[in-house]
Symmetry: C2
Amino acid sequence: MFIGAQVSLYPMTSDFIRVILSGLEALSPWRDQLRIETDDMSTLMVGAPEPLFTAIRDLFARVAREPAHVTLHTTISRGCPGEPDEPSCRCDALTVEQNLSLVERQALALAAINAAPRLGVKIDVQFSLYVMGQDRHMDEIYGCIDFLKNSGTFLRSKNFCTRLSGDAGAVFETVQQAFLRFGPASGHVTIDLTASANSPSAR
Amino acid sequence: MFIGAQVSLYPMTSDFIRVILSGLEALSPWRDQLRIETDDMSTLMVGAPEPLFTAIRDLFARVAREPAHVTLHTTISRGCPGEPDEPSCRCDALTVEQNLSLVERQALALAAINAAPRLGVKIDVQFSLYVMGQDRHMDEIYGCIDFLKNSGTFLRSKNFCTRLSGDAGAVFETVQQAFLRFGPASGHVTIDLTASANSPSAR
């Protein structure tokens, strides 16, 4: 299994270079657990889901504490058939627990959100979950949407994506659980996610 | 068939509100062919692929002509089973021509890029194409990657996505052809795309 993300930060300020570099500093504690490589468009992070989602959360929470409007976009992927197996990406939720029923997986996902730390940073997210390579991919999507509606972070459905809102800790845990608990254990599952903070626009 | 996109502009300048509003003005000629609705995180555009991709191209080309570093993210979707049928989204490339072989579709896609207008605006793009709901989704993905490598806009492969570079006219035509010509005609196909212009970072 190969798991990772391409992550980009977009601070809406003329001081954007400093804000981006400050955000990248928040990744320092994770560099021993994740492979992290930055180019001119995005930062690649490869590793197991827990450090991966926590690192993306910490990156965004750091810059969201500044006053400027900022967004983050990430493309997250697991199980792409074109990528090599990577032992550092191993994750029990994807191996031991994926044979559980949809209802049991939904319960584990909700418990994880309740246990997630609160960071005191309010964010908005919209994201899409894609499950490839099986005929009945929408069963897992609908099961995931049921979970999201009960997550406590659900804001509303939109065309092509779902809006979440709340503390960065609960919101990123919600997305991590959507990514881990739905779709086949060895399947190709991706997320297209945008996070936003300090927007001057009203919802 | 329901076809559309969620589109967001991120100008890296403290003057971002003016730049975004200027970009949205570039959509005016398309409002009779597309349903366009803006909220605080993105602009929904619904309609046939040709006006849809041209409108997104024009939106980004407008703001890329300004000096500030700017990025655009869009989530583009066709055939999502959860969306209603929408007659305005009808497209011959997706109905009449989709029964052609992979090689014939690759040739049509390359011809379309050669016929695309040049806008005089240089952009970088990275994007992922997702084909859902069939067992052998990677055959179409690999066929699309072959096309991209011959497109004249290919820069390099990255984990989880492909980099393109060139004139906005050719680059957006490349992405439109990837979206239209690969994956089953009635299938669920999506694109996760980021465009960038005026970046201070070297490639």
